[in-house]
Amino acid sequence: MVFTLSVNGDRLASTADPVTPLVDVLREEFHLTGAKPVCREGFCGACMVLVDGKPAPSCLMPVALAADCEIRTVEGLAGGGTLNPIQQALETCDAVQCGMCFPGMVVTLTHLLTTTSGATRDDIRAALTGNICRCTGYERIIDAAVLALAAT
């Protein structure tokens, strides 16, 4: 069976088994390796993508159920060589270390920025409870979100 997916505006076809996690289809068939399969349990958030505009861990979504959705991955958040506001803020704050969690962080925070313009530091922390970072200790990521919120 072939599934047709809409990813970052492109129509792409997958021949994977229906229960295959979306993250594996994105990475292995579509070469979109931004999403990272770190825990495969929905706890770490490193494989987060936007599904119909909402953050979803792509490890928990079977490709069969992603077929009718608009999927946006970290690669598709900003056009050309640009950064979107939260990516820009994270760069400005020198927040990145190993970088493995940032694709997911960026997806979650991109959604927060567009839906919760008045978010407080506590709101940001709560929004990030499904995104683990092992390097940074979070505070700079929160600083960057505050900075990006102030600029919007």
Partner: protein, 789 residues
């Protein structure tokens, strides 16, 4: 020899691609024609392999190669070579590799694993150090005498894989004095998983008769050399390259799964990808070791420490690995911080039938600092002295002797404690906790050091005015390769740091390097890079001197130009000079090399140590405030402060990022992260549901003060800054919780059940009967006696 400062808050050049998901880590490399590999692992902690038949597996669909112990004749280790790639005849831990398969898809490889026929006769398993040290315990390595010895001097016997001792002064005399209090404390800590987000991953190929290993590692040269040793080939037959690494923390400071992929690539003639599953990472992690510690001190009423002795048991798991080396650290961590009249210490790496342990950020230091600082508080309480006053009185200062008799230079810890006083006093006064929770605070000190050791660097001056830095350094996330190294080269050459190209690690391109870890990147690789850049500078100035008709000494390099000092705009651009040089005498390059200074211990003080004295000590002072919920045992960290000795801060903002991250990793160790081993010998925490790392709501912003100016042989006065932030977090949290609850904290992590046990007095004092009462009875042979085994 630089005309512009190397100090700046340079941003990372790799951030933008990492933020856009474009960076290709090892796990993201999918090569054309690549096969997928999987490793068959033992599911018992101890057993004899009766039969291992791969015939059926090799005929399974899609299978291209199957390899077993017969393909890897060598053994590796540090100090002793005790570790084969695959279990041969005997299984020593749950998860030990038995065979590896490469197939067209991962699913085919896994199906083939299931088709390997294995028959194992279980053997009794030793799951704890107490069991391993019991008098009639079976031996994890019955053949321990046959292990090849790679470093002479360590005492070994039976399940004691390695023993390192320190003896300085008359300890018996100190403990016999009538004017001292004797304080004894015992401690126990569990394992910690690094949880690097990128699992161990490798893509290997066999090209032109040599192996090319692309891997997620901190130690490309170790991977090269150890792979060769296991496979029984020349090290020069192995080339290792390293893409950006998705987190290391010491986990990747050792060989991992690279040889499996290498063997399968050679056998199949195809590139082979092997990536650990998260479960494999959780169960076979080279954890920070669990440890048991007894420490005793003889202290006068005035607070002088006249004698100290300790026994530290470190669980190395089934094979010695890093633990053998890490027995060295006790002398400098548990034996650190304070002036001691006399001291004797033994650290013993003990074999058990559990997954081998490894290195983890401030390895050994975090728990020995926890033990030392809690012991210090127990001493202060016993003699009725304020714990901070006790520390001020006793911290190491200029000219003081360390545990191994080395002489420390400079007053560092004293002024750092003073600076912490200022920070603490400037903060809001302790919160009255209206919610019924118990408030506690503590200030702790810690001693760490830079692992110096060999590094090499080459700087190639390009005709366009840029420079290429070639080293075997790896970017593991700390930023040293992206920030401090280009800053050092750029300031030496007077060019913008963005124009210093940093070559990714490739053992075919750059010289030997110990690896990225131990706080050594900026120091050792930095020193080699500085020296290489200085050679380039000298050569460029000579060419420029002819062009500009001025003596080299009168020239400066800044803003991309070589000019006569004091005459901005004179001279030529560096690009012009480099191009001229290239045309006239050939391209300009420089090489640099570095290793330790070789500070010595006092003769006779150490035995079985890999590092007798420390070239570059690093000190840290941490202060922590906590609230403890007396009903649930939950500990909340209210505030955290760090004064860290950095020598010189080349990139203060980057260092602060390391401190925030390191402290939070330490909070995980102190409060949340627990590894337990079940009766079946398997680690119980197999994923992120049960292994809990700190999340965004569990952390606080760390207040940071960088202490500069302490002596250092590091380039430009630097010390490593990324390793040490985790050092005294467990100590600070434990002391604060002890102060909040009035209970004797002897164990980490302080999970809610463990704290509630303390509060409810359900918890007995930790007894360690396998540590003999008389210190010397713990030794397999007396300190500094030759091996008679």
């Amino acid at each position: 020899m630089a005309d512009v400062s190397a100090t700046m808050d340079l941003r990372r050049r790799d951030a933008s691609d990492k933020l856009r998901g474009r960076t290709r880590y090892t796990i993201d490399r999918y090569l054309p024609g690549m096969l997928h590999a999987a490793v068959l692992r033992a599911s018992v902690p101890a057993g004899r392999i009766v039969r291992l038949d791969t015939a059926r597996a090799t005929r399974m669909p899609g299978v291209h190669a199957v390899v077993t112990a017969a393909d890897a004749p060598g053994k590796i280790g540090i100090g002793i070579a005790d570790h084969p790639l695959f279990a041969r005849d005997v299984i020593r831990y749950d998860g030990e590799p038995l065979a590896a398969v490469a197939a067209g898809t991962l699913a085919q490889a896994q199906a083939a694993l299931a088709a390997i026929e294995v028959e194992i006769a279980p053997l009794p398993a030793l799951l704890t150090m107490a069991e391993a040290l019991a008098p009639e315990a079976p031996l994890v390595h019955p053949d321990w005498r046959e292990h090849e010895i790679l470093l002479e001097g360590g005492a070994r016997a039976g399940n004691v894989a390695w023993e390192a001792t320190v003896v300085r002064g008359d300890v018996d005399g100190a403990f016999a004095r009538t004017d001292v209090e004797i304080v004894e404390s015992t401690f126990r800590v569990g394992r910690q998983n690094h949880v690097a987000f990128e699992p161990r991953a490798v893509v290997a190929d066999y090209e032109d008769g040599r192996f090319h290993i692309e891997t997620s590692t901190q130690v490309p040269w170790t991977v090269r050399n150890a792979t060769a040793r296991l496979l029984g080939i020349a090290p020069s037959q192995v080339r290792v390259t390293v893409p950006p690494v998705g987190g290391g923390f010491g986990l990747k400071f050792d060989l991992a799964i690279e040889p499996f992929a290498a063997l399968l690539a050679r056998a199949s003639g195809r590139p082979v990808r092997l990536v650990n599953s998260r479960e494999e990472e959780m169960l076979t992690c080279l954890f920070r070791e669990n440890a048991e510690i007894r420490i005793r001190s003889a202290v006068t009423r005035e607070g002088e420490i006249v004698g100290r002795e300790a026994v530290v048991l470190m669980d190395c798991g089934a094979y010695g690995g890093e633990q053998i080396f890490l027995t060295t650290m006790t002398a400098h961590t548990l034996g650190g911080n304070y002036r001691l009249g006399s001291v004797r210490l033994v650290s013993r790496a003990v074999y058990t039938n559990t997954a081998p342990n490894g290195a983890f950020r401030c390895c050994n230091g975090v728990y020995n600092t926890f033990a030392l600082e809690r012991h210090t508080d127990e001493i202060a309480e016993r003699i009725g002295m304020d714990p901070l006053a006790f520390r001020r009185r006793n911290v190491l200062g200029d000219g003081d002797l360390g545990a191994t008799g080395q002489v420390f230079e400079g007053d560092v810890l004293g002024p750092m404690l003073h600076r912490m006083d200022t920070l603490r006093d400037a903060a809001a006064p302790p919160r009255a906790l209206a919610d019924g929770r118990l408030y506690g605070r503590a200030t702790t000190v810690g001693t760490w050091f830079v692992f110096v050791g060999p590094s090499a660097a080459t700087v190639n001056m390009n005709a366009d005015g840029t420079a290429t830095l070639v080293t075997s350094g790896v970017e593991i996330g700390s930023g040293s390769m992206m920030q401090s190294l280009p800053q050092i080269v750029a300031s030496t050459l007077g060019i913008p740091p963005e124009t210093v190209i940093v070559r990714a690690a490739d053992t075919d391109a750059a010289g030997y390097d110990v690896g990225v870890g131990g706080g050594r990147t900026t120091v050792s690789l930095g020193a080699a890079s500085l020296s290489a850049a200085q050679e380039v500078r000298t050569k460029l100035l000579k060419v420029a001197s002819d062009l500009i008709e001025a003596a080299p000494d009168d020239l400066v390099m800044r803003e991309g130009r070589i000019e006569i000092a004091g005459a901005p705009g004179s001279g030529r651009t560096i690009a012009e000079v480099a191009a001229r040089a290239q045309a006239q005498i050939g391209p300009i390059s420089g090489t640099g090399a570095f290793t330790g200074a070789g500070v010595q211990a006092m003769p006779g003080c150490v035995a079985g140590h890999f590092i007798g004295a420390i070239d570059i000590p690093i000190f840290a002072v941490h202060d922590c405030e906590v609230a403890v919920d007396p009903e649930t045992g939950h500990v909340e960290v209210l505030a955290y402060r760090v004064v860290q000795d950095v020598g010189r801060a080349l990139n203060p903002r980057a260092i602060q990022g390391q401190i925030q991250g390191g402290v939070v990793q330490g909070l995980g160790y102190a409060l949340h992260e627990e590894v337990t081993i079940g009766a079946n010998g398997r680690v119980c925490q197999n994923g992120f549901e049960t292994y809990r790392v700190p999340l965004a709501q569990d952390v606080v912003p760390v207040e940071i003060s960088l202490y500069e100016g302490a002596p250092s042989i590091g380039p430009l006065g630097t010390k490593g800054a990324g390793e040490v932030p985790i050092l005294n977090v467990g100590a600070a949290v434990a002391c604060a919780v002890a102060n909040a609850t009035g209970k004797r904290v002897q164990e980490l992590p302080l999970t809610p059940p463990r704290v509630l046990e303390l509060l409810l007095d359900r918890k007995q004092d930790i007894a360690l009967p396998h540590i003999a009462a008389a210190w010397a009875d713990n030794l397999v042979r007396p300190h500094n006696q030759p091996d008679r085994s």
